[in-house]
Every structure is written in structure tokens, then in C-alpha cells.
């Protein structure tokens, strides 16, 4: 297999541009609906999530599934008409409620009311998440700050090891990967109620690390090939470098994604979306290194050469 990335570069650029635009559109729609580009979990906006499961070791306790309409009635009686309830589990004996921030009295009252109606809940399966709005905001800002600082660190490192224009295109590719991953989750938030939590921020940061990784390996090869064949055009150098590292790109992406696929299929509930975000991001990372970072670099260098040569040709 031999890729001709330089020749097809306009196709890849168009494809990426379209995907980026779709992602941005999804985020705008999402912003109009939730006032956030992605459907935020309570990690970011604050609130209480209460998850309970009926204790099935008590006879007859689990005979009837939990009726969502009854839950809604209880919620309204407790003065929580905005709360959202969801039933889960094979026999619909699990209940998850998401509400505004409840203090301990309000929460106990709600729990008592639910127990009075549906039967005993198993205390070892209870899950409570209460996050104050300020904490959520802090999590978000500290995450974004960490993102910006790592961008800066990566730009500085690549500029030192390579050159500034290499660094800028690596960051551009990385933006592309993060943006589209976020776009996919924005769409998932709109159509499948998928929420993003602080683990999603972690996922984005990891994707950035891997995206740069891939780009750096190809850059390394471009630099080496360029040194070996100083006469060759930058387009040819980039094409060769991409093809020489192609097997590595595919194999590495494959071996990294294999364990993630295992988590997506068999892992615990909380890690599934995390794994999905990473799979999307890593695929994009491999794609953008091959088709964007390298071709953009070639295009930029070509342009620079022609603009530098121009004065000469004008003089003649």
C-alpha cells in the first residue's frame, strides 16, 4: 500500500473542514439547548444524582419493576418537579434520579418517600453524587487551564526539537482531533443524552498527548528523510516519510485501541464513554498526523520557497 497524501491533500482538507463545521454546528445547537457546547454532567453544573437499587435478597421486594410515573409523582410531591428520573437494570429495579443540589435532609426525605412506595433499597449499591456549582466551575476552569498549559509546553518542546512551523501545525492537528471528538459527543448529547463529565476532560487531554505523539513520529521521519535527500522536494519528502511510518501508525493505533475496545465492551459503566472518546480521538490522531499535519507542513514550506524566490524571478 502506498499513500499519495500530497496529491490528495485537498480532498483530506475538505473532509476535515466539513467534519469540523459539523462539529461546530452540533455544539451551537447544543449551546442553544443546554447553554453549553456539550451536554454537561453534574460534574460541571452542580446538582445531585441519586442511584438506588431495590434489595432483591428480600422476598417479594423485586417483584414489580419501578414505575417511572410513580417516581415522577413522588418527585413532585417532594417539590422537585425539575428532577429527571431513569429506571435501569434487567428487571427495572434500579432507579437513577438527577436533581438540583439536595442537602442531606432533602435527600433522606426523598429516599424515605421512595422506600415507602417501592420497598427496601440495597444500601451497598447506593450511589450519591452531589457537586456544588462552584466546584463544577472550578473543575472546568482548571481542566481548560491544564489544556492551555500543555498546549504551550508542547509548542515550546516541538519548536526546540524541530521548528516553530512544525509546532504550529502539530497544534492545529491536535485542535482538529479534540474539536471533532467533542463534536461527536455533542451530537451524542443531543440524540442519546450522553453527558460529559470530568473524565471526558481527561480523555481530551490524553487524545492531545497521543495526537502529538503521532505527529512527532512523522515529523521525525520528515526531518530525517529531508536530511538524507537534501535535493528532493518537500512534497516528495513528506510523501515518503508518511509511507515509511504508515505500518507503525496503523499497528500502534491498533494496539492502543484493542484494550480500549475491551473496556468499551466489557468495562465498568463509568469507563465506557471514556473509552469511546479515546477510541474516536486516537483514530483522529492517526488520521490528522498523516493527512493534515504533514500535508499542511509541505504546503507551507512550498509557499515559503516560492515567495522567497519571487524577488529573484522579478529581477530577471
Amino acid at each position: 500500500m502506498k499513500l499519495n497524501v500530497i496529491k490528495q491533500r485537498y480532498f483530506w482538507w475538505l473532509l476535515s473542514a466539513l467534519t469540523v463545521i459539523i462539529s461546530l454546528l452540533a455544539m451551537i445547537v447544543s449551546y442553544l439547548q443546554f447553554e453549553a457546547p456539550l451536554r454537561p454532567s453534574l460534574d460541571f453544573v452542580g446538582g445531585t444524582r441519586l442511584q438506588l437499587e431495590l434489595d432483591c435478597s428480600i422476598p417479594q421486594n423485586c417483584d414489580e419493576p419501578i414505575a417511572i410515573s410513580e417516581v415522577q409523582e413522588i418527585l413532585e410531591a417532594q417539590g422537585l418537579p425539575d428532577a429527571r428520573a431513569q429506571v435501569f437494570g434487567e428487571n427495572e429495579t434500579g432507579l437513577s434520579i438527577r436533581a438540583q443540589t439536595l442537602d442531606v435532609e432533602e435527600r433522606s426525605e426523598l429516599q424515605d418517600a421512595l422506600e415507602a412506595n417501592f420497598g427496601q433499597f440495597d444500601p451497598t449499591t447506593i450511589q450519591i453524587d452531589t457537586v456544588g456549582p462552584t466546584i463544577g466551575e472550578e473543575l472546568f476552569t482548571s481542566g481548560i487551564l491544564a489544556l492551555l498549559v500543555s498546549f504551550f509546553g508542547i509548542i515550546v518542546y516541538i519548536s526546540i526539537r524541530f521548528q516553530l512551523d512544525y509546532a504550529i501545525f502539530a497544534i492545529l492537528a491536535l485542535f482538529h482531533d479534540a474539536l471533532i471528538t467533542a463534536g461527536v459527543f455533542s451530537i451524542l448529547g443531543l440524540v442519546a443524552m450522553v453527558e460529559v463529565d470530568s473524565l471526558f476532560l481527561v480523555a481530551l487531554l490524553t487524545i492531545i498527548g497521543f495526537s502529538v505523539n503521532d505527529t512527532v513520529v512523522i515529523y521525525d521521519r520528515i526531518r530525517e528523510t529531508g536530511q538524507q535527500e537534501p535535493e528532493a522536494s518537500i512534497a516528495k519528502v513528506v510523501d515518503d516519510a508518511v509511507n515509511q511510518t504508515l505500518t507503525r501508525s496503523i499497528n500502534t493505533t491498533l494496539t492502543t485501541i484493542l484494550p480500549l475496545l475491551a473496556i468499551l465492551l466489557f468495562g465498568g459503566e463509568t469507563l465506557k464513554e471514556f473509552a469511546l472518546a479515546l477510541i474516536i480521538g486516537f483514530l483522529l490522531g492517526a488520521y490528522s498526523s498523516i493527512f493534515l499535519a504533514s500535508t499542511l507542513l509541505a504546503w507551507w514550506r512550498e509557499r515559503q520557497e516560492t515567495t522567497q524566490q519571487k524577488p529573484f524571478s522579478e529581477q530577471v
Binding site: 442531606v104 481527561v202 490524553t206 505523539n213 484494550p259 466489557f266 469507563l271
Partner: protein, 467 residues
Amino acid sequence: MQQQRTAIALIFVLLIGALVVLTQLSVPLGLDLRGGAQLTIQVQTTEEITDITQDRLESVKRVIQNRVDGLGVSEPIVQTVGGDRISVQLPGVSDPAQAERVLGGTAQLEFRAQKEGTDQEFQEKFLTRDQLEAQLEELRENSEENQAEIEETLEELDQVNQEILDLFEPAALTGSQLEQARAQPAQAGNNWQVQIRFDQEGGSKFAELTRNIAGTGRGLGIFLDDELVSAPTVSSQYADRGITGGSATISGGFTVQEAEDLAIQLRGGSLPLPVEIVENRTVGATLGQESIQRSIYASLSGLILVLVFMGVYYRLPGLIADLALSIYALLTFAAYVLVGVTLTLPGIAGFILSIGMAVDANVLIFERTREELRAGKTLYRAVEGGFYRAFSSILDSNVTTLIACAALFWLGSGLVRGFAVTLAIGVLISLFTALTCTRTFLLFAVLGFPTIRKKPELFCPNLAVQK
């Protein structure tokens, strides 16, 4: 060859060390895996105290620590976070609601003597308060219809409570002089009460307080957070010396639960500053176990898939890489134990990802080795060349990941930090195993076994040497 033998000896020693560490110590599991409650308590400023100094934060932490001890949870962790927060971890806690009530409550206990000539006013206010409380209970039965009225009643109640407080002299005795507090059943009815004992100074203050009001008909106001709990009168027989011995009971029609919570709060002392619980993450024990089991199975099956792939695709070097990866996994786990990493779900994810990084280094090296072989180099030179040429790629790509880890660790909060530490440890050890273990084993195989040296197809199938 001597060099390889030394390196193998070193790896062997490290492995033994890792095994010893792993058998002697265990990785502490995060609350998301073992179940338990994690509470973040925000310390607040008041009108008088407008800044939270390190000292004040420490004293709040001490009080919280005392209260946590009162809960009887094994291995609790209480830490200050940033400049104004305290994080409390309660593994395996069975009643998270009790923990929240006890830790978040202020429980400022005060004993005040009633002011002279306020008898009638006190009776009236006390009656009003009773009425308001009864009214509130009634309204709450249909809480969504009576929302506005409930709020109104609550406001009135607040006002009456404040007025009652004004009828008493400023506190002569506070909970800080308390030595012991425990719940016990009241003599009559199903109610519970809290028995308290003062220290010596508190005891004499209590005697003075009771002597002053004995036989006057004025009450001894027991206030909890500025709210009257009870106002017993002291009979005239104590007019000489007051109630001595430093013991008293607080009765206020408590349930068992209320009496116990109050006792814990009083024992823990009163907080120098008000606090609020701003975050609570509780995971049931079963849920934790389930997620750890599933995640471990998933990681193992993922790892096995990777090992199989490496062996099938890269042949002998792939198998050697598998050996190196297994060593990597052992060393990394031992490092987690030594550094004291608490294993959480994101931590497991970080570990799995670092396996990806470790594999990547091997892939880079083997691809290079194959290129060298195709270019017609001998096996030994190809292996050496492969390592030499892959090195800068491996270094650059790992350093960028480490930069991201550093940013995450520096700026991130608990969860994010744990991820950054596990990933960074993984990346560093993967650099070591790829550049040392894989290299040593490969060179050992190539140099030590002449049969292998004659079969470069073990390294690269369908090898067609280019010109």
C-alpha cells in the same frame, strides 16, 4: 555479550524487587473501587472573620477529624485541599447521610441564663414557637401546594428564635468546656437525651450559672446553634452552691438518631467557622467491586489481544516484546505501590494507555529493524540500527506526553491528578523496558544463539533484500 549479561542481571534484580514489593504491600484502592463516601467541605467566612488563614483551616480540620473519629469508620482520611477546603474520605461507610449530618453541622452549644423579668415574654414566645412548629409540620404534608406559606412560617420561626435568644444573657458556658457527651434513653417515653460532662473549669461555671438562677423561676437556656433546645428551671435547693459535679443532660425530645448525631457533634467540639458540604460522592460497596472486576477483566483481555498481535505480526521480536511488556506491567504496578498511588478507575485507564505507549516504542523499533534488514544489513546491525534510529522518535513522543502529564498534575484536581501520575509512571517505565529489556533480550538472542542469527525471517517474514 558481557554487557547483555549485566543488563539481564539488573532486570532480574528489579523483577525480584518488584515481586517482593507486590507480595508485601498492596495497592490502596480508591473509593470509586472499594465503595465509600468522599466529602468535600468548604470552610466559609463570617462577618467577623473575613479571611481563612492556614491556622483557622487547621483548627477546622481538627474538629472535623474528631467528628470523623466519632463516626467509627475504619481508615478515614481527612486532608486540607487548597486554602479553604477539607476533603474527607470514609471507606466503606454504611450511612452516608449520617456522616453528612454530623460533619456539616455546626453544633455550637451554649448555656445561657434567662434575663430578669422576662418570664411572661418568654412564655408567650415559647408558645408562639410551638404553634409555628406545629403549623409548619401540617403545611409540609402538602409541601408543593403550600410552598409560599412554608417559607413564610420558616421566616417567622427564625424571628421568634432570635427573639427568644435575646431574652437570655450572653453565654456564660459553651461547648468548648465539654469533656464528654453521649446519647442515652430518657427516663420517660421513647425519647432520647444527651448526657454531657464538663471539665473542671466548665463544671464550676455550670455550678455558678445554676446557683444564680436557682429558685428564681428563670430558666437555664440550652442553645444549639442559637436555637433553644430546652430551658429547664433550677429548683431552690441548689441556691447555695449550684449544681456541682459538672454533669447535665440535654433533653429535647430527640430520637435515637438525633441524640447520637448531637453527641458526636458535641464531642467533636464546635467549629470555629461555619462549613458547608459542597461535594459528596458516595459509591456503594457492591458497585465498586463490580466496576473493579469488570475493568480488570477488560484490561486483561485487552492486554492479551495486544500480546497475541505482537507475537503474530512481529514474530520473534514480538514475543520478546511480549516478555518485556509483562515485565513492564509488573514493574509499573510495583512502582504504583512504592509511590503510594491510590488506584481509581481513571488510574486503571491511565495504566492501560501506558501499555499502549509501551507497545508503540516496540513497534517503532521493530519497524526500523525490518527496514534495516530489507536494506541488506546483518541481523545484529539491523537490531542495533533499529534501536538507534527509533530512539529520537520514542524520546520526542514520550516527552510530549510527559509534558501533558505535568500540566494535568499541576493544575488538575483529585481525579485528574491520579490519572496524570499513573500515566507518567507508565511512560517512564515503558521508556526503560523498551530501551533496556527489549534491546537486551534481542541482542542476547541474536548474539547468544547462532541458529537465530542465520534466520532473519524470524524477524521479518518474506524478506527480500533490496539492492
